[in-house]
């Protein structure tokens, strides 16, 4: 079980958080302009990387804030946490 450094609250146990899947998938501004395939790409297609992955996390049982996290899925090492409006770090 990880210790996650919530950008708003500090270090907390993983049990307080929930994972929201891959980060930096932006909802299209004009969904109606998209083809079925383009929409499906946004809707369904997610990476499942063994290695460094950018993820969304929610401090569900804490401040309820969403933030991003860079985690190596092969060893659970957390490389960075950053707020939603911050640029992803170069890992």
């Amino acid at each position: 079980m990880f210790v996650i450094n919530c950008p708003y609250c500090g270090e907390r146990d993983q049990s307080e958080f929930s994972c929201g899947g891959e980060a930096h998938i932006v909802r299209p501004k004009q969904p109606t302009e998209l083809s079925d395939d383009e929409w499906a790409e946004y809707l369904f297609m997610r990476k499942n990387i063994k290695g460094v992955q950018f993820e969304r996390w929610n401090h569900a049982h804490g401040c309820r804030k969403w933030f991003n996290m860079v985690r190596d899925t092969s060893n659970d090492k957390i490389h960075a946490v950053y707020k939603m409006d911050e640029k992803p770090p170069v890992i």
Partner: protein, 1000 residues
């Protein structure tokens, strides 16, 4: 003293006799004994029958690796526990233990016949045999197998014991209280680090604590004497917590560890005094030092499982720790030096001992020691068979060929009553790998050792592959200092002398004169898998170690293969001709030793198992005989039976009352989200399918919320309380998820919106009054309010005051009746409810529960999200096109409504179903077919809601049917177990299609 208790030690108090029973017979041991040592002191080796062949089995080890000596404790009581290792149970007065997996008795077990027919039950036997005929499985095969298989018996009564959880944080956690753990803990604690040392035994010291050989000297003392002094110094340190009887269960990432402490298992029943039985420690450690030690390996040869065959170091522990000799005529069979310590110790106590060594020679000090004493050693030899059914009586040995692959010469028979075996040592790398660490294979010792990568933990001592005393002490000191950034320690100038092993030899499967197929060379003693089984699996094409493990069940017993896994790997590697290191290992999963369910759940039992949410009106419901239904964590009144009414009768009465006069429902559990901010209207526009901008202040509107995939997610009525202020209601079960989803969009997709969400579900209680007389009741409650349709129309809200308390009245309806919902601060909920009941008395106001609510809304064809939908229904499927805005540019899920899949016309669509027999009530979930004769029968839909409607006096149902929209009037069938029910597709609004009652 019995004839096997030949030695006095400081660990067993021979002045304190403890009596216990085994299989109903009374025996004596001493304080400090384990059940195993006490049994051995009484000359008892036979303690169980093996799992598959029911072969007699004896105590084999002295710790958690024990595969054979597993017992049922306190059988037939509520305290009973199965599969407990006799080697770990501390003896207490009155302990009742019994053997397992034998019937009718340990000494005569009918299942032993499996041993005779064993050539016919190879690996995979059950998979291969009991397949045909199929009908035999349920009635013949399974009951028979269940009768003769299985280990202990699980308790049938609730566990009366108390279990506990505790969270702990420390700078350094040391796992294992052997010599390297003690050195590590002392260095850490002396350097002002908050340190916890856990040890699964009741006494610290590991195997060094009984290492009393003159060849092992630390600072001019025998190693055990030196360690005793270290332990007494350790106990004086302030910032060190020593937790004995505490075993590590799991080592998770980020140094999060679980350890189980046995608090009162070793106490007699009358001395437990209601104390906690076990405590699960949840430890978050900054640094972890694993000093878990190593486990001695058996040797794999024909009939290597007889009672009286014991691991050599365990024989030494029974002798020098418990004072018990496992036999009086011992033979030691080894491939390494460590077993010579056992031989010397036995010899020094006057017990007959001979040694068989597969090596050609060994020139170490300890071997010389044995030779000097005159102990007879058979070099370059192996055991090829053993004899004695319930206890070993003799063995046959032969010489090994030059390369060790075969046996030569004549068989030589030797009498014995105990055979001590040692196949070397396996480092306990479980903790290291559980935490994510990798392993390297060290060829010379044939062991997997941790490859150090982690910054947060290290392995020291024999679990790291350091087997010799000198390297254990020195390497531990150096590694711990480096790990903790410490320059010097009290162990820097220590002098260690020890015997060093120079000649090494390992043969995973010892050769024999007879073929593998005819030997019984056990690898996994508990699951009865043999070398033959492994080879068979390979011949049948299994290659991966994980597959071989599962096919042969090697390593899958309660001991998790602590003794067997390495041999299985070794034999696979040898047979397949590959390097062992390239095979890898099976995965080491927690827990290291079995955990009780009690320890896992701790205090979360009974009423603490889950949170129970009750509305402020709950007590009234209880007093008025409500039956409750669980909705999420909420307790909701289900129905209110009067005079022994059953569910059906009560619901019929309640629903009739609600339509004929007045009914009242506790609607407090509906999720309520307060939405404020200048962009609140825009926000609702984006999350609901319909338009919100033009909703007037004081008005209510029903909304449907989709997922981005276009499927219905939630619904509810939202009220505009002010220009920038809304109150959203959600389904009872969906409240938390809806809030979390809305927050997600607000924070991540639309951070520019000025909107704030607050859950107010628990802040307000809601009484919902419906029926033609509801307006009259409201007038009585709020005499100053104008309830005319003009002043207070349907789908609007007004503030009001009752008993000087502010409340909100919404005129909204989930039943199709004229209906009002009164929201009031929760603490006044019960008082409001009682006022409503009093005011409604003259109209026979009838409280109704969720079942009646479901019936009433079904009559009107209103869906319940989660009952009539299942995450695959779009609003179009539900025939709710009317609520999907065509004008709005975007809302959550809009684009998905135009995907080719969601536009298919043969999707399951919501319809009404009427049974041809109006008294026939369909079962919810029942499948619907259009053709009965066509095989295979195509299931075209299922019933989602079904009731007998007292207001229509017939059975009604909602269902989803493929292409149902166009099937109105069509005949379909609902096949049940005994009959086919004829049904007709109908409109799903069964009652008051014109919506007249809403303004009645």
């Amino acid at each position: 003293m019995t004839k096997y208790r030949i030695n006095k030690t400081r660990f067993v108090d021979q002045t304190k006799t403890v009596s216990f029973t085994f299989d109903g017979k009374k025996y004596h041991g001493f304080e400090g004994d384990t059940l195993a040592s006490a049994l051995l002191s009484n000359g008892i080796h036979l303690v169980g029958r093996s799992f598959k062949y029911h072969r007699p089995r004896g105590i084999m080890s002295c710790g958690s690796e024990e595969p054979n000596a597993i017992c049922q404790i306190n059988a037939n009581t509520d305290l009973t526990e199965p599969n407990v290792r006799a080697t770990e149970i501390e003896l207490y007065e009155g302990l009742k233990a019994s053997s397992q997996n034998c019937w009718p008795s340990l000494n005569f077990d009918i299942g032993g016949i499996n041993n005779l027919i064993s050539p016919f039950i190879p690996a995979g036997f059950y998979y291969k045999t009991f397949m045909w005929p199929k009908s035999f499985w349920k009635k013949i095969y399974e009951p028979l197998i269940r009768l003769s298989a299985g280990l202990g018996k699980s308790p049938t009564q609730p566990d009366p014991d108390i279990y506990d959880h505790k969270h702990e944080h420390c700078d350094v956690l040391v796992i294992g209280g052997g010599i390297s753990g003690i050195i590590s803990a002392k260095i850490a604690a002396k350097n002002n680090l908050k340190t916890i040392l856990i040890e699964d035994k009741n006494i610290l010291g590991g195997s060094t604590i009984y290492q009393n050989n003159k060849n092992f000297i630390i600072d001019n003392q025998k190693s055990n004497e030196w360690l005793m002094n270290e332990i007494s110094e350790l106990e004086k340190l302030d910032n060190l917590i020593i937790k004995s009887r505490t075993s590590l269960a799991a080592f998770h990432s980020y140094n999060y560890l679980l350890a189980k402490e046995n608090i009162s298992d070793h106490l007699p029943l009358d001395k437990k005094n209601g104390s906690i039985r076990q405590r699960l420690w949840k430890i978050r450690a900054d640094k972890v030092i694993v000093a878990a030690g190593a486990i001695e390996r058996p040797l794999i040869f024909n009939n290597n499982d007889r009672p009286g065959i014991i691991l050599a170091n365990s024989v030494k522990k029974y002798l020098d720790f418990y004072g018990v000799s496992s036999g009086l005529n011992n033979i030691i069979f080894t491939n390494n030096d460590s077993a010579y310590e056992t031989a010397v110790s036995l010899f020094e106590k006057g017990i007959s001992v001979k040694i068989i060594d597969i090596r050609k020679k060994s020139s170490s000090n300890i071997v010389k020691n044995a030779e000097d004493l005159g102990i007879e050693i058979y070099w370059n030899s192996t055991v090829v068979n053993t004899f004695g059914y319930k206890k070993i009586k003799s063995i046959e040995i032969m010489n090994l060929s030059e390369d060790g692959s075969n046996v030569t010469g004549n068989k030589h028979k030797i009498q014995c009553d105990c055979l001590s075996i040692s196949g070397g040592w396996t480092p306990m790398v479980h903790m290291h790998t559980q935490s994510g660490g990798k392993l390297d294979f060290r060829e010379i010792d044939q062991v997997f050792v941790p490859s150090e990568k982690s910054e947060n933990h290290i392995n020291v001592g024999s679990c790291n592959g350091d087997f010799e005393l000198e390297e254990i002490v020195k390497n531990t000191n150096n590694k711990v200092k480096k790990f903790l950034n410490i320059n010097e320690s009290g162990f820097d100038k220590i002098s260690v002398l020890c015997s060093k092993e120079l000649e090494k030899k390992n043969i995973w499967l010892l050769p024999n004169t007879i073929s593998d197929g005819k030997t019984k060379s056990f690898i996994d003693f508990q699951n009865d898998s043999t070398a033959k089984d492994i080879k068979l699996a390979l011949r049948e094409g299994f290659k991966s170690i994980e597959h071989v493990k599962r096919y042969t069940t090697t390593g899958m017993a309660t001991d998790q293969g602590k003794l067997s896994n390495m041999h299985a790997l070794g034999i696979i590697a040898d047979t397949a001709g590959v390097k062992m290191g390239s095979l890898g290992t099976t995965t080491f999963r927690p827990p290291f030793t079995p955990l009780t369910f009690g320890a896992i759940v701790g205090r979360s039992v009974g009423k603490f198992f889950d949170i129970v949410r009750k509305t402020s009106i709950h007590e009234w419901h209880v007093q008025n005989n409500a039956k409750f239904e669980n909705v999420g964590q909420w307790k909701r009144p289900w129905y209110y039976p009067i005079n022994n009414e059953n569910l059906h009768e009560a619901v019929q009465r309640e629903s009739k009352a609600a339509r004929d006069s007045a009914g009242i429902l506790d609607a407090s559990t509906l999720g309520k989200i307060d939405i404020q901010g200048s962009d609140a209207s825009e926000f609702l526009n984006r999350v609901y399918t319909n338009a919100w901008s033009k909703l007037g202040i004081g008005k209510c509107r029903y909304g449907l919320m989709l997922n981005e995939d276009g499927m219905v997610y939630d619904d509810g009525v939202t009220t505009r309380l002010g220009e920038n202020h809304y109150l959203m209601t959600t389904t009872t079960g969906g409240a938390a998820n809806v809030l979390s989803k809305l927050e997600d969009y607000l924070q991540t997709e639309w951070p520019e919106l000025d909107v704030y969400l607050t859950s107010v579900t628990d802040h307000y209680s809601t009484a919902s009054i419906c029926g033609p007389n509801s307006k009259k009741i409201l007038k009585k409650l709020f005499p100053n309010k104008d309830f005319s349709d003009e002043a207070f129309p349907h789908m609007s809200y007004q503030d009001a005051i009752i008993d000087k308390i502010e409340c909100r009245i919404m005129r909204i309806s989930f039943t199709g009746e004229l209906s009002y919902e009164i929201n009031i601060e929760s603490k006044y909920g019960k008082s409001l409810w009682e006022n409503c009941i009093a005011a409604g008395e003259e109209y026979k106001i009838t409280p109704y529960g969720t079942e009646t609510m479901h019936l009433l809304r079904a009559e009107k064809g209103f869906i319940i999200v989660g009952q009539d939908t299942d995450g695959t229904m779009t609003p179009i499927d539900l025939q709710m096109d009317w609520i999907v805005s065509k004008k709005k540019y975007d809302f959550i899920g809009k684009r998905s409504l135009y995907r080719s899949d969601t536009m298919r016309e043969d999707r399951k669509q919501l319809v009404g179903l009427l049974t041809d027999d109006p008294n026939e009530i369909l079962e919810e979930g029942a499948q619907i077919v259009s053709e009965l004769d066509k095989k295979p029968v195509e299931m075209i839909g299922h019933v989602t809601s079904s009731y007998f409607s007292p207001n229509l006096n017939k059975s009604i149902a909602l269902a989803v049917v493929k292409g149902g929209k166009k099937m109105n009037g069509q005949k379909l069938f609902v096949p049940m177990e005994n009959k086919n029910i004829n049904v007709t597709v109908s409109d799903f609004i069964f009652l008051d299609k014109e919506n007249k009652r809403i303004n009645a």
